[in-house]
Symmetry: C2
Subunit: 371 residues, 2 copies
Amino acid sequence: MSRPVRFQTLLRDPTSAARRGRLITPHGTVETPAFMPVGTQATVKGITPDHLAASGTVMLLANTYHLALRPGEDVVARMGGLHGFMGWDGPILTDSGGFQVFSLAARSRLSEGGVAFRSHIDGRLLELTPERAIAIQEALGADITMCLDHCPALPATKEAVADAVGRTVHWAGRCRDAHTRPDQALFGIVQGGHHADLRAECAEALIKLDFDGFAVGGVSVGESREQVREALAVTTHHLPEDRPRYLMGVGRPRDILDAVATGIDLFDCVLPTRNGRNATCLTDRGLVKLRNASHRLDPGPIEDGCPCLACCNFSRAYLRHLFLAKEMLGPILASIHNVTYLHRLTRRIRQAITEGRFVPLRAEVLEALGP
Amino acid sequence: MSRPVRFQTLLRDPTSAARRGRLITPHGTVETPAFMPVGTQATVKGITPDHLAASGTVMLLANTYHLALRPGEDVVARMGGLHGFMGWDGPILTDSGGFQVFSLAARSRLSEGGVAFRSHIDGRLLELTPERAIAIQEALGADITMCLDHCPALPATKEAVADAVGRTVHWAGRCRDAHTRPDQALFGIVQGGHHADLRAECAEALIKLDFDGFAVGGVSVGESREQVREALAVTTHHLPEDRPRYLMGVGRPRDILDAVATGIDLFDCVLPTRNGRNATCLTDRGLVKLRNASHRLDPGPIEDGCPCLACCNFSRAYLRHLFLAKEMLGPILASIHNVTYLHRLTRRIRQAITEGRFVPLRAEVLEALGP
């Protein structure tokens, strides 16, 4: 069977589980490990598509929950799908909407069939089922779609996590059955919290369903860095070598480095744009807060050597002024810098894997980032 | 004496006072009639300099009042002046700050020496004098600077307007004496409301002071379109042919057409960006309001044939979604469209003057715009 997306493992790091790969989609090829900026409402906040491409973005993510509520997947479909609607010709991935239903919607109520919830925008009563999650994503038309999963709220008993794993596997089967578009890939999502046996059980069950790729969910919701690493290592150990692996919602530089070491290929996170809007910039030496008085007369860029639009053209003094004056250009430029930063980091990671020196690179970057 | 900016009249329209000119500044050449977007706080709101240049912007304006208050002209000067600070290599014009002192500041108090006022940001007590207006503008480092003028609040008696004219002329002399930078031009500002005799008197007095160019002030503050046209025609009739003429604060398409017909060369206005942030777009057929339900499934651009970033890449349906979802990209794209629109309009005006058909073009555009 020819798959809508194909994944090639180009190289394996000799001293970790890190791997250098290539994801081939109907809208282009993604060199992995790769970071995907988040375009929640069919726009990566504050960044025009030309600047997004210039920042190094190849593939991005959009949120099914938000787009189904507004403007509605029918509007997106009639405007040419997400690619046409948002003017992005590159690969796009949509999530299933499940995570947002559990975290954003007012009063969600779970059943074996799906989740009933009220819209956080207008209070409308709606239902998300595995079949509906697939139907919305087929209308949105992304290259990669996700199964509806159940990510339990934390803290949770092991029994509750096991229950969520059972539901996630059951829903994954229904999603696979509902999936019809031959040009869209479908990924399963491994849940199981920090319980190695539940993660393994979930992974094995999903592997039997033969998805085009596998995501790891529930690791960005409140667990410690150590727990995340352990859960990840266990999970990726079970996943097939020839399918892409996507760690959902992770985007801190140190977490990306940790996850790559366990064999993760894809990441997404709102961190670069959310931090950017808040005047906080990612750099190799940690976070730079542009509102600080120390930047008042600082003629230097956010980060020396950064090729982004902000760093090539503007001083920290100017960016500080923009934030203090509440000018839109501040969030725009800081977001562009942060997205560029994460793409540069993953590019260095890819290069290091290619050269067999990922582990030293990771140590070096973590050391410079500081505690 | 060699002037810091030179103005060449290339062609005169045979059936109106319109003229096709060229303004040569230390940072580049501006083909006139030309529109200048406003970068109040050293940024044209929501538009990166590369998109601003792509929209057709050659010269822009920044506001002395705002920049003196924040970040302070000393910061701008130490960061390389406005050109370096805001990353704009093209020509820049600064106003004197007077208009904002009278319109924005809390409790301004006028004397012959200048204006005392409280900052609208933090309530600090400050003073703007002709000498201080020039000193700030020399620190900001624009290509063209303006004299401090007195634009009286309307409605005003003729006596009050005459008083303001006297003060404006007196202050203009002090500005000329205070002006030291040989690489900056200084323009005088003609006041006089809708009184032909006061406009003429003001113009004659300023002409004797031999400014590099002349601005017409006080026409965007509450007078009717007919009164504005009359005041303008009287004023430009008195101004020397070989100096540029700048109509302050005017940017509606019909007002630009009217003003060009009286011989105006330069315009500035916050209209394109303010309207853009408010989802209102300028087109040849009048205003398009992007939030309207009629655009829900509209696959067309804001305006057919427009070469801007918004019109080349996005549908009205998408732009409507961005505004309803309160995404920054909506204001960004609508502002880019509106600035592009006014540059396209002035480009058509220049072309029409060159071809001796400005009057028919004006009639055609006004007809299409509707009432």
